[in-house]
C-alpha cells in the first residue's frame, strides 16, 4: 500500500465532520449578532478556517476505495480516534479566537500584543467535554462567557451526541468492525451473525431524522412551558445529547418543576437506543417485537434507583415529598443517562446517594444512545455471564449460554464486554492515581475520574454539584480530557493505538 494513499485514507474521513463542525460554528453567529457581544469576528474566522480545512481534505485526497476499509481494520481504529481528536482541536478555535484580546488595544495586531483569555488546557477540556457530551466545565463562572461561546458549548454536545450514535449505529458496522460492535448484540437492526440489515446511508438518515425531530419536539415543549427560545435551544441541545452543559451557573436548578421534568424526559429519551426510538416513533413496532431486554433492564434500574433516592432524600435529607420526588427523578435520570445536569447541590446530599450515583453513571444508558459509561447492555451481559459462571460450576456439563432477548449471545461479545469492563476499571484506577499525583485530593480525583470517563460530567467535592474543574491544575485538565476521550470511545479503540504491533507493518 502506498504511504500517501494511506495518509489520504486516514485523513479524508475527517473532511465531512469538519465541514459539519464549521457549519455549527456558523450557526453560533446568530447569538453573536443578536446579542452583539462582539465575538462575531472570532466565531466567523473559526468557522471559515474549519470549513476550509474540511473542504480541502475532501477535495485533495482520494476517495476511500470500497474494499480498503474492510481489509485493514487498523485504519478504522485510527480514523475513529482521529475524528474525535481533530474535532476537539478545531472545537477549541472558538474559545481561543473569541477569547482573544489585545494586551494594548492602542497598538496594532502583533503576536506579542495578543493573549488568550482562555488557556489552551481550558479550551481543550471544554471542547473535549462538549464533543464527548460529558458536560464537565473548566469555567468557574459560566454566566460570564459570551452568548456565542455558550451556544457553541451546547452545539458541541449536540454534535458529539449525534456523532457517537452515528459511530455505533452506522460507521462501526460499515468499517467491518462488526464483531466488536455492541450493536450487533442488540437485535433491532442487526442479527447475531453480525450482518446489518440496514445500509449505512439509511442508518444515518434514520438517526438524523430521529435526533433532529426529537430536538425540535423538546424545544417546542420547553417553549410551551415558558422558557425563552435561547434557553430552550441551549438546554435541549445539552440534554437530548445527554451532555449536561448549562448556560447558567446553577445548571437547571432555577427552572420551574415542569421544565425540569421535561428536561428529565429529554435526558431519558437520549438514553434510549436510537434505532429503537426510530422504530417506535415510525410505528414499526413489529420490528421491535419482544427484543426489549435491555430497555426493560434500563427502566427497572432507573425506577429502583429513583425510588431509593427519593426515599433517602425525603427521610434523611428532610426534604418535603414534592421536592424529594422532583430532585430524585430528575437527578437520577441525569446520572444514569450520564447527562450531568444538576438540579440541586448534590455535594450536600447523603453520602450513599452520592456513591450510588457513581455506580449508576458507570452503568450508563442503552447501547446505541448518546450516553456514556459501560452501557446497560454490557452490565446486563456481565451479570448474566457471572451468574452462568456460578451455575456452570454446579452443572459443569450443561449448555448454558448468556442469552439476550431470548437468543444466545456469541462468546465473542461476552468476551468483548468483559475485556471492556476490566480495561475500564484499570483505566479508572490508574486515572485516580495519576490525578492524585497531580495534586488533586482523593475525593476530587475519584469523582473526576467517574465524571470524565463515564461522560457524566460533575465529580465530587469542588468539581461536583454546581462546581467546576476550574481549580484543577493544567496537567489534571489534560488528563481529564484524555479520560473523556477514553470513556467515549470505550477505551479499547484508543488503547489499541498504543500497541507496538499496531504500527508495525507485517
Amino acid at each position: 500500500m502506498q504511504r500517501n494513499t494511506t495518509v489520504g485514507m486516514i485523513l479524508r474521513p475527517l473532511g465531512v465532520p469538519l465541514v459539519g463542525e464549521g457549519i455549527a460554528m456558523l450557526v453560533c453567529l446568530w447569538p453573536a449578532l443578536h446579542f452583539g457581544d462582539g465575538s462575531h469576528w472570532g466565531i466567523l474566522s473559526a468557522a471559515l478556517l474549519t470549513i476550509a480545512v474540511g473542504v480541502t481534505l475532501l477535495w485533495t485526497l482520494p476517495r476511500r476505495s470500497a474494499t480498503a476499509g474492510a481489509t485493514d481494520r487498523r485504519l478504522s481504529y485510527l480514523t475513529v480516534t482521529l475524528v474525535w481528536i481533530v474535532m476537539t482541536l478545531f472545537g477549541t478555535l472558538p474559545f481561543l479566537l473569541v477569547g482573544i484580546e489585545r494586551t494594548d488595544p492602542a497598538q496594532g495586531f502583533a503576536f506579542s500584543n495578543v493573549h488568550f483569555s482562555i488557556s489552551l488546557a481550558d479550551a481543550i477540556f471544554e471542547s473535549m467535554s462538549g464533543l464527548t457530551s460529558t458536560g464537565a466545565t473548566a469555567f468557574a463562572d459560566v454566566e460570564g462567557l459570551s452568548p456565542t461561546l455558550l451556544l457553541w458549548r451546547s452545539a458541541t454536545e449536540w454534535l458529539g451526541g449525534f456523532g457517537i450514535i452515528l459511530l455505533v449505529l452506522a460507521v462501526v458496522p460499515s468499517l467491518g468492525l462488526n464483531k466488536y460492535s455492541l450493536y450487533t448484540a442488540e437485535a433491532s437492526s442487526a442479527d447475531n451473525t453480525g450482518k446489518t440489515s440496514t445500509s449505512m446511508r439509511t442508518m444515518v438518515q434514520q438517526t438524523l431524522a430521529t435526533y433532529v425531530s426529537l430536538t425540535l419536539l423538546f424545544v417546542v415543549l420547553l417553549l410551551l412551558s415558558g422558557m425563552t427560545l435561547w434557553e430552550a435551544i441551549n438546554l435541549t441541545f445539552t440534554n437530548i445529547s445527554t451532555g449536561g452543559f448549562s448556560i447558567y451557573g446553577d445548571s437547571i436548578a432555577r427552572f420551574t418543576p415542569a421544565q425540569q421534568y421535561i428536561l428529565a424526559a429529554s435526558m431519558f429519551v437520549g438514553g434510549i437506543n436510537f434505532a429503537l426510538l426510530y422504530n417506535f416513533f415510525t410505528l414499526r413496532w413489529r420490528r421491535i417485537g419482544r427484543k426489549l431486554d435491555q430497555f426493560c433492564f434500563f427502566l427497572l434500574l432507573t425506577l429502583v434507583a429513583t425510588a431509593f433516592v427519593v426515599v433517602a432524600l425525603h427521610r434523611q435529607g428532610n426534604l418535603p415529598f414534592e421536592d424529594a420526588l422532583r430532585y430524585g427523578i430528575v437527578q437520577t435520570v441525569s446520572v444514569i443517562t450520564t447527562t450531568g445536569s444538576v438540579v440541586a447541590d448534590t455535594n450536600l446530599w447523603w453520602t450513599p446517594i452520592v456513591l450510588l450515583f457513581l455506580f449508576l453513571s458507570l452503568c450508563g444508558g442503552m447501547a446505541g444512545s448518546t450516553t456514556g459509561g459501560l452501557k446497560v447492555m454490557r452490565v446486563l451481559i456481565l451479570l448474566r455471564s457471572v451468574r452462568n459462571t456460578l451455575t456452570n460450576r454446579l452443572h459443569p456439563h450443561a449448555y448454558n449460554p448468556v442469552r439476550l432477548n431470548g437468543r444466545p449471545v456469541s462468546n465473542e461479545i461476552v468476551t468483548n464486554v468483559m475485556v471492556i469492563f476490566i480495561v475500564f476499571v484499570i483505566t479508572m484506577l490508574v486515572g485516580v492515581l495519576l490525578l492524585m499525583l497531580c495534586g488533586v485530593g482523593a475525593t476530587e480525583s475519584l469523582g473526576a475520574v467517574f465524571g470524565c470517563i463515564t461522560s457524566y460530567g460533575p465529580g465530587l467535592g469542588a468539581c461536583g454539584g454546581f462546581g467546576s474543574y476550574a481549580a484543577f491544575p493544567a496537567v489534571a485538565k489534560w488528563l481529564c480530557s484524555a479520560l473523556m476521550l477514553l470513556g467515549r470511545l470505550e477505551c479499547l479503540t484508543v488503547f489499541i493505538l498504543f500497541l507496538p504491533g499496531f504500527w508495525r507493518n507485517r
Binding site: V354, L355, T389, T391, V414
Partner: protein, 501 residues
C-alpha cells in the same frame, strides 16, 4: 427407568444435606480448636495474667460442643460428599468456627459486646488482622496468643485440618480442598490429597518455627516472638503492642520482612525452595513477577520517601521494603512510619492491596496469577482486534489456560469489585466518606486489615468506632475474601437450591 436416565436424575438433584457428615466434620474441627487452646491456656497459667479461667472455660465449652457434635449428632455419617455440597459445607464451617472462636474473648471479658468478639474472631480466622482491641499491653497474654493462634489456624485453611485426618473422605476431600482453595490455583505437592496436605502443613509449621526461633533468640519475649511468628506466616497481622512493631530490633524487623515476603509465595514454590528444586522455582512465572513487583514497588517508595525527606537512608529503604512486603503479603503490619508520607506511596499501596499475594499462598487479594492471566488475555484480545483470525492462547508456566477458566477469573474480579462496592456503600451509610469507605472495604476483602495508606487518605482507620452494622459487613467481606467469593456467592443463588429438571 433406564440407567442413563437414572444417572441424569441423580446428577441434577437438589444439594443433599448430609447433616451427619457436616456435624462430624464440625465436631472434629471444634475438638482440634479446643486442643489448640492448650497453648494460650498454658501461657496464661505461666504468667497468671488472670485470663486462665476464662480461657479454660471457653476451651471446655468448645470441646464439649465438639464432642457432642462428633459423637452424638455425627454418629454414623456416610463419608460421601458431592460437588454441590462442598460449598455449603465450607460456608457453614467458616461461619461456625469463627463464631465459636469468639468465646475466649467473651469469657475473659476482654470485650463486652458479642459483635466485637465476633469481629475479632472473624478477623483472626480469615487472617485479616483488623482489630477492635486497644491497649494491647494491658490485655492478658494468653488472649493475645489465642488471637494469633486463630490466625495461624485460619491461614492454612480450616478444612485442610480435616482433610489431613479424614482418609475416608477420598474424592470428597479434593472437593472441599477446591472449595476452600478456589480450584486449580493451588498446585498439589503430592498426587495423594492427604499426603499433599501433610506436606503443606509441614512447610507452614516449619516456617513458623523458624521465625519463632529467630525472633526469640533475637531477644524478643516469648509471647512477642510466638504471636508475631504465627501472625506473620499466616499473613494475619495481629500484633502484641499498640505501637505495632515499633519496639522490635532491626534484626527482628529484617526477619519479619523476609518471612512476610516468603508467606506471600505459593506454598508449592516454597516447598521447591526448601527441597532445593531451583529450576522449578526459577521457572515459576508468578514467583518471579511477585518478586519483581515487590522490589520495584519498594524502590519506588524508597525514592519518593528520600525525595520527601531530602536525604537517603538505609533505614528508609528498609522501611519501604517492610511496608511493601506487609501490603503485598496482606499481613498488614505497621511500625513507626516516617513523618512525611508522600502521595506516591499511598497510591502504590492502594494498588497493591488489590493485587495481593501469589496464588496458593496464605495471603489475600486478587492474587498475582489471576492478574497475570487477565493481563495476557487482554493483550491477546488487542491483537485479535487487529488480526481477527489469529488464534492465541493464554499460557502460564507453560500450561494453556482454558477459555472457561479465564471467564471464571473475569467473573471473580467482577464479583470482587462488586463486594468492594457494596461494602463501601454500607460504610457510607454508616457515615464514612467515599475514598475511606473504598479503602476500608478493599483492605478487608483482601484480608489486609489495618493499613497506613488509609490513614493518609484523610480519616483515621479506627475499627473500634465502627457501627455494629459496619462491623458485620466487614466480617462478610473478610469471609468472602478468604473463601475467594465463589463458595459464598454460590450458596445464595436460587439455582443452587433448585433441582434442574
Amino acid at each position: 427407568m433406564s440407567t442413563s436416565q437414572h444417572k441424569q436424575k441423580a446428577f441434577f438433584r437438589r444439594p443433599t444435606f448430609n447433616f451427619r457428615l457436616a456435624f462430624r466434620l464440625l465436631g472434629m474441627l471444634l475438638v482440634i480448636m479446643a486442643s489448640s487452646m492448650v497453648l494460650p491456656v498454658s501461657v496464661s497459667l505461666y504468667y497468671s495474667d488472670g485470663s486462665q479461667f476464662g480461657l479454660v472455660a471457653a476451651a471446655l465449652v468448645i470441646l464439649a460442643v465438639g464432642l457432642f457434635l462428633r459423637n452424638f449428632l455425627g454418629v454414623g455419617a456416610t463419608f460421601e460428599l458431592h460437588e454441590k455440597e462442598s460449598f455449603w459445607f465450607t460456608a457453614i464451617i467458616w461461619l461456625v468456627i469463627p463464631l465459636m472462636g469468639a468465646l475466649p474473648y467473651l469469657f475473659t471479658s476482654t470485650v463486652t459486646s458479642f459483635t466485637d468478639a465476633a469481629f475479632e474472631s472473624f478477623s483472626g480466622f480469615t487472617t485479616t488482622g483488623s482489630s477492635v482491641l486497644t491497649g494491647l499491653e494491658g490485655k492478658p497474654q494468653g488472649l493475645l496468643v489465642w488471637r494469633s493462634v486463630s490466625q495461624w489456624i485460619g491461614g492454612m485453611g480450616l478444612i485442610l485440618f480435616v482433610v489431613a485426618i479424614l482418609h475416608r473422605l477420598n474424592e470428597g476431600s479434593a472437593r472441599l480442598y477446591e472449595a476452600e482453595f478456589s480450584g486449580t490455583l493451588q498446585r498439589r505437592l503430592h498426587p495423594r490429597m492427604a499426603r499433599n496436605v501433610v506436606l503443606m502443613w509441614a512447610v507452614y509449621s516449619g516456617l513458623t518455627l523458624a521465625l519463632f526461633l529467630l525472633l526469640y533468640f533475637g531477644g524478643n519475649s516469648f509471647v512477642d516472638s510466638l504471636c508475631t511468628a504465627m501472625s506473620t506466616v499466616s499473613t494475619g497481622g495481629f500484633m502484641t503492642h499498640d505501637a505495632g512493631l515499633a519496639g522490635f530490633s532491626d534484626f527482628s524487623m529484617g526477619c519479619i520482612t523476609l518471612f512476610m515476603i516468603l508467606s506471600g509465595v505459593n506454598l508449592a514454590v516454597l516447598f521447591c525452595i526448601f527441597t532445593g528444586r531451583w529450576r522449578q522455582v526459577r521457572a515459576d512465572e508468578e514467583f518471579v513477577r511477585y518478586l519483581i513487583v515487590l522490589l520495584v514497588a519498594a524502590l519506588l517508595c524508597t525514592v519518593s520517601f528520600s525525595i520527601a525527606q531530602g536525604h537517603l537512608q538505609w533505614r528508609t529503604a528498609a522501611f519501604s521494603l517492610f511496608h511493601i512486603a506487609s501490603t503485598m503479603s496482606t499481613c498488614g503490619f505497621y511500625t513507626a512510619s516516617p513523618s512525611v508520607w508522600p502521595m506516591v506511596v499511598s497510591v502504590v499501596t492502594f494498588l497493591l492491596i488489590f493485587l495481593g499475594a501469589s496464588a496458593g499462598s496464605t495471603g489475600g487479594g486478587l492474587k498475582f496469577k489471576r492478574i497475570m492471566i487477565l493481563a495476557r488475555y487482554v493483550r491477546n484480545y488487542f491483537v485479535t482486534m487487529i488480526h481477527p483470525r489469529a488464534v492465541l492462547s493464554v499460557k502460564v508456566n507453560g500450561t494453556v489456560i482454558s477459555n472457561s477458566y479465564v471467564t471464571r477469573i473475569f467473573s471473580y474480579v467482577f464479583l470482587y469489585l462488586l463486594f468492594v462496592a457494596l461494602g463501601a456503600f454500607v460504610l457510607t451509610i454508616c457515615g464514612y466518606d467515599i475514598p475511606n469507605a473504598f479503602c476500608m472495604a478493599a483492605a478487608n476483602i483482601s484480608n489486609l486489615g489495618p493499613s497506613p495508606v488509609i490513614n493518609n487518605l484523610g480519616a483515621s482507620l479506627d475499627y473500634v468506632s465502627l457501627l455494629p452494622v459496619a462491623k458485620w459487613t466487614m466480617m462478610v467481606l473478610m469471609l468472602a475474601g478468604r473463601l475467594e467469593i465463589f463458595a459464598i456467592v454460590s450458596i445464595v443463588l436460587p439455582a443452587y437450591w433448585r433441582p434442574r429438571n
